[in-house]
């Protein structure tokens, strides 16, 4: 064990910090759940790509920097420290990207990762269906082989940012006679293909942050399939591992929130009357660090060739409940100002906490609900009886 950054890692941090200082927009961008805001974020992805900062862990030939996971964590720390815009293409770079690296053909990597790295193509994830939420194996939408094409019919729902995205990666039933997690395949669909209809769904804040997608005889080439036919479930579980663990929610995000929470508390310390609030602030900071420490440990293990399995479920519960608690604590500190939307003059500069609070309500739901994660932990990690 050696808990010191190497001179190279320290230099890397400096380089990231400098580039971000020179490039992060001075004014915060609009929400990426608006058309204008989405465009602004797309431009930012292109700026990142030009500096080869789009996804530092990818090989150089795909626009990355071949960084290892420790360097990626350092990059993320600097990214949140600089208050850089949220990643509008997070479904692409954090979920599909790593999955493509593992399961994609050289042609697919060349075609899709390169475009992703250039900030040209934004991705949505299309797994959930009206009848298949927690029970994803109940997927019914079909992709039926017709020569060199799949013909797709069905419906997806809750697809984040599908309203403005370019592509969606889906799980479809390619074997119409199959059941449950058999006979599913992982397929890419361009959202402007004939037969695709996207219906925006407004979220708690009123913005269309996700969408329903209808497929009506949509045709895509067989080469849009990732992995083998029928291997969809297996690949999806690998992607879900990235979603629950390490990739989607790097610790820096929560450490930055915890830091802001401590600052918020200090600024209001004199009018705080609830003795439990200071305790909640301290606990938040500790938990954010615990998540970071655990992630560094996992990253070190992965670098040495380890694999991440059911323990991703532990991560998912920890970060989502931490995020919720931190924002609840901020709401308590803000007291009667907590309910104000950011554009209210009386909200001052604290309105962002409300937005974060609303979003934190979804953390224990998306990426597999926390009830399902607890079932996985109990049954697969701890070996408690299933029936």
């Amino acid at each position: 064990m050696d808990l010191n950054y190497t001179p190279e890692q320290i230099a890397f941090r400096q380089e990231v910090r400098q580039w971000l200082a020179d490039n992060v927009p001075a004014e915060p961008l609009q929400s990426f759940d608006t058309e204008e805001g989405f465009e602004q974020h797309r431009q930012w992805e292109k700026t990142l790509a030009k500096g080869n900062w789009g996804m530092v862990t990818w090989p150089q030939e795909y626009g990355g920097r071949a960084c290892n996971l420790i360097e990626w964590l350092i990059f993320e720390e600097e990214y949140y420290r600089a208050k850089a815009p949220l990643r509008v293409n997070q479904n692409g770079i954090f979920l599909l990207g790593p999955t493509l690296m593992e399961y994609g053909t050289p042609e697919q990597k060349e075609r899709f990762i390169t475009q992703m790295a250039r900030g040209e193509e934004m991705w949505a994830q299309g797994w959930s269906e009206p009848g298949a939420g927690s029970d994803m194996a109940a997927i019914r939408s079909k992709a039926i082989r017709d020569g060199d094409e799949y013909v797709i019919n069905g419906q997806k729902v809750w697809s984040t940012r599908a309203v403005f995205a370019d592509w969606v990666f889906c799980i479809f039933r390619t074997d119409p006679d199959s059941e449950r997690h058999h006979g599913l395949s992982f397929i890419f669909v361009p959202l402007d293909a004939p037969g695709v209809t996207v219906r925006p769904i407004p979220q708690l804040d009123g913005l269309p942050g996700f969408a329903e997608i209808f497929f009506d005889d949509v045709r895509v080439p067989v080469s849009n399939r990732l992995g083998d036919e029928g291997q969809g479930w297996h690949i999806a579980m690998a992607t879900a591992g990235f979603e629950r663990g390490l990739m989607l929610r790097s610790p820096a995000r929560f450490q930055e929130t915890a830091k802001r929470l401590v600052e918020l508390y200090r600024a209001h310390q004199n009018d705080i009357l609830d003795l439990t609030i200071e305790d909640a602030v301290v606990k938040s900071y500790m938990d954010a660090e615990a998540y970071a420490l655990s992630t560094y440990q996992t990253a070190s293990r992965l670098i040495k060739g380890g694999k991440i399995g059911a323990e991703a479920s532990l991560n998912k519960i920890f970060w989502s409940e931490l995020d919720q608690r931190m924002h609840e604590t901020a709401m308590s500190i803000l007291a009667s100002r907590a309910e104000l939307l950011p554009h209210s003059s009386a909200a001052g500069n604290v309105g962002a906490w409300l937005e974060g609070f609303l979003f934190s309500q979804s953390g224990p739901i998306y990426a597999g609900t926390n009830e399902i994660q607890r079932n996985i932990i109990a049954e697969r990690l701890l070996g408690m009886p299933r029936k």
């Binding site: 927690s134 979220q203 009123g206 104000l340 609303l358």
Partner: protein, 354 residues
């Protein structure tokens, strides 16, 4: 000792409950969001016709001369349907405040008569709230300045709209000038009246929070019976049953403290601080837990604007912090309890606490 409501109180509550559940629906609330004021004059007049604004107005001013305890169950029902109209504040805060000043200032008697008859509406500002709710539809405003309470007509003040996460709530910062003319009370009397208003406002919030908590649980119970995953209703999963059962426990143990607070306010308002703060903290906890466990049980559906759940969640988040946030009320409990002379112990539960 008899800790039950009277037959009359229960019957009246039932009839109002039926009215509210028929008139105030998620559809009617959503329709109100798109209107200028977010409020319906027609609905207010029906509320007046049912005698609800007259309940706490003294008989001498044409009211029914009732008290906080008579109103508490109705306040809970207002929360249950997420009523947007400021009935609870009108009845529990504005009316008692004006009643206390009836002998002192003739304007108050006239205002009370008009509240009862529905001719006017009165909004109340208080140092505990940075903002005044429903000031835009009020004809008169009661506003604090130091230890004074002032009465201003709406055209004497300037309102700046503030936007709440709850689209039903209409909040304002009020710019105004205090003069001798506008002053109704001040000094020790003003301080005492402001303190009493805070307790009544907090009581009204607590009652609505309990109603909201129960409404969210009831929506969730229905949804989890209908929604199927893994070939069965999701409500059959023990995890979800426990989420809802935990909410039921919290609500149950918020209710008795709520009713004690209403009782104490009606009988011995000078000793009600402890009881009110207890009720507000417990009701806030019940409503926040209900919001959290309800959205969790709904899954992604609960995170949408289309699902009615957010109507209730957002109201709960807001009222939990109105008329004294949890920190304020917990602090009053701490101050009281840590005083070595505090009268504590089982035999003091219903006595004068303080």
């Amino acid at each position: 000792m008899d800790f039950t409501f009277t037959e009359d109180q229960l019957l009246f509550c039932d009839s109002v409950k039926n009215f509210l559940q028929a008139e105030i629906t998620p559809e009617s609330l959503r329709a109100s969001w798109d209107t200028d004021t977010g409020r319906s004059d027609e609905l207010w007049q029906t509320i007046v016709e049912l005698g609800l604004t007259a309940m706490l107005v003294p008989e001498a001013q044409g009211g029914l001369g009732m008290n906080e305890l008579d109103f508490i169950l109705l306040a809970q029902e207002c929360g249950r349907v997420a009523l947007a109209e400021a009935l609870v504040e009108t009845a529990l805060v504005a009316t008692p405040l004006l009643s206390a000043l009836v002998d002192k200032d003739p304007r108050c008697a006239s205002l009370l008569e008009k509240i009862a008859s529905g001719e006017i509406r009165v909004a109340v500002g208080h140092p505990a709230n940075e903002l005044v709710s429903d000031a835009h539809v009020a004809d008169w405003l009661l506003l604090p300045s130091g230890d004074q309470i002032h009465l201003l007509a709406r055209d004497q003040v300037k309102l700046v709209t503030q936007h709440s996460v709850d689209p039903s709530r209409r909040l304002f910062t009020v710019e105004w000038k205090a003069t001798d003319e506008t002053c109704l009370a001040g000094g020790p009397e003003g301080v005492q009246l402001l303190a009493a208003s805070l307790n009544r406002g907090a009581l009204g919030c607590a009652a609505q929070l309990v109603g909201l908590a129960e409404a969210m649980v009831s929506l969730t119970v229905d949804y989890t019976a209908d929604r199927h995953q893994f070939g069965k209703a999701i409500g059959t999963n023990q995890a979800l049953k426990h989420h809802m059962a935990n909410c039921a426990v919290k609500s149950e143990f918020a209710k008795a403290p709520l009713y004690r607070a209403a009782y104490t306010l009606s009988k011995a308002p000078q000793n009600a601080d402890f009881a009110v703060s207890h009720a507000k903290v417990a009701a806030g906890e019940a409503a926040l837990l209900a919001a959290k466990n309800a959205i969790q049980s709904f899954g992604a559906m609960g995170y949408t604007w289309e699902c009615d759940l957010h109507i209730f969640m957002k109201r709960a988040w807001a009222l939990d912090k109105f008329w004294g946030h949890t920190g304020f009320h917990k602090n009053r409990l701490h101050q009281w309890l840590m005083n070595p002379n505090a009268k504590i112990g089982a035999d003091k539960t219903f006595g004068i606490q303080g």
